[in-house]
């Protein structure tokens, strides 16, 4: 009777444990694509195979440890080999592995078939943000960490999606096969969204391919998975999956906004206007290395405040920001930022933190320089 009670308790414990194990915060997400479901099921299959093997192996081990204690008078037997047993416990695991390899191979083949996509998106990793470009649609933007710095360093309240929120998410249509082309401007990053079961390295100067077909609208969050420098923890990925009609509308809106921005290049900008825009750009793009107060993190990231070499030579300053500095962590921003943003941020750097050159760099000049 007592024995039965023990077994029932153990059974209930196991059940409680397994339902807990299946809870979302404890396990791999099932995800919202066919591939993510297959991966989840592979994961659970191999997990349960391991559990069964574990129960058998550890069961035999602990049985031996309890049963054959010398303190209970156990005397050692003399056997020390048995060919048949050795053959069996070599062959059986081999068969289990073959059984496991078959579904894994099938899933992998599916994951590698990125052909016949409805939409191509180029994803470029940059220290420490993602740049998205909808190929053939003239829409591109940069997606930065949305969590304010104060939340990271301060003791105050943290937002619900702390570190997993961005200023502009990647918007994708539901039900369409989207091909993801990944590359990087600097070091290796890795673009990962657990709910989509997509993790792919972004390697500088190489283009990797992956694809996703999202089944349900929603917001899916992930982050960079490959150590990429000091702000590796602060480059999240957010994907917003919407119905195809909503996606088309969003795309049209983005195109109109891009045209409006482009027309701003031709007009004369006032210093205040540039400073205001520049402060925004600096905050989201430059501050993580050169620091919000321009003090930098020498020797890797030089100070901008009081940087006489740059302040004396505006051409050098512009060249540094637009084309980057080869062999250092300073990337070329000509692809990331448009002429208005470039002019604004350079103007900001030349006038903030006591630099006070009074110079306003005009977007038109930058555009002309980039055209050359």
């Amino acid at each position: 009777m007592r024995k039965r009670h023990v077994w029932m308790t153990a059974g209930m414990l196991l059940a409680a444990l397994s339902s807990h194990t299946l809870a979302a915060e404890w396990n791999m997400p099932i995800g919202v694509t066919d591939v993510s479901r297959e991966i989840y099921s592979l994961h659970m299959t191999i997990f349960w195979i391991c559990v069964v093997i574990g129960v058998v192996v550890f069961g035999a081990m602990f049985y031996s440890l309890f049963r054959y204690r010398r303190s209970k008078g156990a005397e050692a037997a003399h056997f020390h080999e048995h060919t048949m047993v050795e053959v069996i416990w070599t062959a059986v695991p081999l068969l289990i592995l073959v059984g496991m390899a078959i579904p894994a191979t099938a899933t992998l083949k599916k994951m590698y078939d990125a052909s016949e996509a409805d939409l191509d998106v180029m994803i470029t990793g940059q220290q420490w943000r993602w740049h998205y470009s909808y190929l053939g649609e003239d829409v591109e933007f940069t997606s930065n960490l949305g969590t304010p710095r104060e939340q990271i360093t301060g003791d105050g309240e943290r937002s619900e999606h702390y570190l997993l929120e961005v200023d502009e998410p990647l918007v994708l249509p539901v039900g369409k096969k989207v091909r993801l082309l990944l590359t990087s401007d600097d070091v290796i990053h890795s673009w990962w969204v657990p709910d989509l079961a997509v993790k792919q390295d972004a390697v500088p100067s190489f283009v990797n391919e992956n694809w996703v077909r999202i089944n349900e609208p929603g917001i899916y969050r992930g982050q960079c998975a490959e150590l990429c420098g000091k702000d590796h923890a602060f480059m999240p990925v957010v994907v917003e999956a919407v119905e195809p009609e909503a996606f088309e509308a969003w795309l049209a809106e983005r195109k109109a906004a891009a045209e409006a921005e482009a027309s701003g290049v031709d007009r004369e900008w006032a210093l205040d206007e540039l400073m205001e825009r520049g402060e925004q750009v600096y905050g989201s793009i430059c501050a993580s290395c050169h620091q919000p107060d321009g003090s930098g993190l020498p020797p890797s990231f030089p100070a901008l405040a009081g940087n006489q070499a740059l302040m004396d030579d505006s051409a050098l300053h512009i060249d540094t920001v637009v084309n980057g500095v080869a062999g250092t962590a300073m990337p070329a921003f000509s692809t990331t930022l448009n002429p208005v943003e470039l002019a604004a941020v350079i103007t900001y750097e030349r006038n903030a933190w006591g630099n006070d050159t009074g110079e306003a760099i005009q977007p038109a000049d930058i555009a002309e320089m980039m055209a050359e």
Partner: protein, 542 residues
């Protein structure tokens, strides 16, 4: 011992019979005795003490990491320093703690287990040890250099470790070169010793599993340390001489770095576990008072693991953009490693089956090794499934996996070895109660630290981040508490070893009644010179 199996290979002899002696010619005293020593026991002790020191330093770095991760937000350190800590922790533990500990054990025990008077190349032995303090002083000095220490992870992927690296990287490269030379020289010495200095009559298939696994490990070291040397030299050229091996802008390939690194790196993880297999294969039969089950299959399994270890490297690179065929090849070959590894675990359990088992501290650590290493093996099998690895890769699930095979794996085996052989080294048994406390605190601490990492990894937490989103907070808090518990209980280990050197219950030559190998025929503590005349070895039938 009535319960003993009939396995007496040796006529038990006195110290004189096996040629033990403490007398010798004029020797330098004080510090110079240690600097100039060519004695395998003294060099073994130096290796072990050095490794213990590195274990403590690497442990402090780990605790800095865990303290920062105790709760979300940046509290204690900045991300730049956090990355230096994860990097230095990995490098120090792999190259400074685990590898030298195994070499130290080999120095002490290989000659004693094969009946050799010393290592084959004693002066080289001295040199290969003294390279290590040089290498690691150089490595640790990068912490106070401008720009800080290496911050790109112990795997130092290019171009983060080349174009984007701190200036101290060149020192890091130099220190790896020196540590690598030390490893290669040590490996040559071990191979030369095992192949040439075995007691007359001892065939290869008569050697203990510890000697066997070290022989195989030494060949792995010789095969892959030059690859590491090559890859860091290419980095050196990229950084200082304008080459572009790994710089795509100059026609190089960052992924080439990973292929080269893991061609070294995967055999390297077996370098850190094969000797552990050997230790456990020696300890379990002793305390089960029963011969090791399937000796020959253990040797063949070790050799198969070593050979397979050269064919699985790209399973560390499943998401780097390999072609489908490569993914499949490396998935299958990796899964295959489970077979010989399984054979080992089954053999250990069959050794326990119908034994006469006692639970001395060495046995406790050995049993914990079998259980927890197997758990690490299970997660390894899961990681081998390439499609699933797209989710696991570079998450805390991986961190959990490799810490299970390295901490309760490699490090527990080293502790088991220390508890097992301390009576032979010092002539005293380690304090029993304290050793048991050390074991239980360690095993609870280690599981508290690393088990929750499986969950945080599956739930989506990437590795090597100093700050994380809120759903990972509970797991990280538990891990941090466990890490401090594990870390602090290692101070107890230091105390136990220190006490054991100073005194304690006297140990006889054969300190454990079930121990049957050659080292137990020389007195405890082992005199400085043993087996000056080779022992008579009478092989047993296998």
């Amino acid at each position: 011992m009535a319960s003993l199996p009939p396995k007496h290979r040796l006529q038990q002899g006195s110290a004189d019979a096996v040629g033990g002696s403490d007398t010798h010619h004029d020797r330098p005293r004080g510090i110079m005795r240690w600097v100039l020593t060519t004695n395998h026991k003294e060099i073994g002790t130096l290796y072990l003490l050095f490794s213990l020191l590195m274990f403590m330093i690497g442990g402090v770095f780990a605790l800095v990491v865990r303290a920062e991760l105790f709760q979300p937000g940046l509290q204690l350190v900045q991300p730049e320093f956090f990355n230096q800590m994860t990097t230095m922790h990995g490098l120090i533990m792999v190259f400074g703690a685990v590898m030298p500990a195994f070499v130290g054990l080999a120095n002490w025990m290989v000659p004693l287990q094969i009946g050799a008077p010393d290592m084959a190349l004693p002066r080289l032995n001295n040199f290969s040890f003294w390279l290590l303090p040089v290498a690691f002083t150089l490595l640790l000095s990068t912490l106070i250099m401008p720009g800080g220490a290496p911050n790109f992870g112990w795997t130092f992927y290019a171009p983060l470790s080349t174009t984007y690296a701190p200036p101290s990287t060149t020192y890091f490269i130099l220190s790896l070169h020196i540590a690598g030379i030390s490893s290669i020289l040590g490996a040559i010495n071990i191979i030369a010793t095992i192949l040439n200095l075995r007691a007359p009559g001892m065939r290869l298939m008569d050697m203990t599993l510890f000697v066997w696994t070290w022989l195989i490990t030494a060949f792995l070291l010789i095969a892959v340390m030059p690859v590491l040397a090559g890859v860091v030299t290419m980095m050196l050229m990229d950084i200082n001489f304008g080459t572009s091996f790994f710089n795509a802008a100059g026609g190089g390939d960052p992924v080439l770095f990973q292929h080269l690194f893991w061609f070294f790196g995967h055999p390297e993880v077996y370098i850190m576990i094969l000797p552990a297999f050997g230790i456990v294969s020696v300890i379990i039969p002793t305390f089960a008072r029963k011969r090791l089950f399937g000796y020959a299959s253990m040797v063949y399994a070790t050799a198969s693991i070593a050979i397979l270890s050269f064919m699985v490297w790209a399973h560390h690179m499943f998401v780097v953009g390999l072609p489908l065929v490569a993914e499949l090849f490396f998935m299958y070959s990796t899964m295959l490693i489970a077979v010989p590894t399984g054979v080992k675990v089954f053999n250990w359990i069959a050794t326990l089956f119908r034994g006469s088992i006692t639970f001395e501290p060495a046995m406790l650590f050995a049993i914990a090794f079998v259980v927890l290493f197997t758990i690490g093996g299970f997660s390894g099998l899961m990681l081998a499934i390439s499609p699933a690895d797209f989710q696991y890769h570079d998450t805390y699930f991986v961190v959990a996996h490799f810490h299970y095979v390295l901490v309760p794996g490699a490090i527990f085996s080293i502790m088991a070895a220390v508890y097992y052989w301390l009576p032979k080294w010092t002539g005293h048994y380690p304090h029993l109660r304290l050793s048991q406390w050390h074991f239980w605190l360690s095993i609870i601490g280690v599981n508290l630290t690393f088990f929750p990492m499986h969950f945080s990894g599956l739930a989506g937490m990437p590795r090597r981040i100093p700050d994380y989103s809120l759903q990972f907070a509970d797991f990280n808090m538990i891990s941090s508490v466990g890490a401090f518990m594990f870390g602090l209980s290692q101070l107890l280990f230091v105390v136990i070893v220190f006490m054991c050197v100073r005194g304690g219950k006297k140990a006889p030559a054969k300190a454990w009644d079930g121990a049957e190998d050659l080292e137990w025929t020389v007195p405890s503590p082992a005199p400085l010179h043993t087996f000056e005349h080779p022992p008579q070895y009478r092989p047993v039938e296998h």
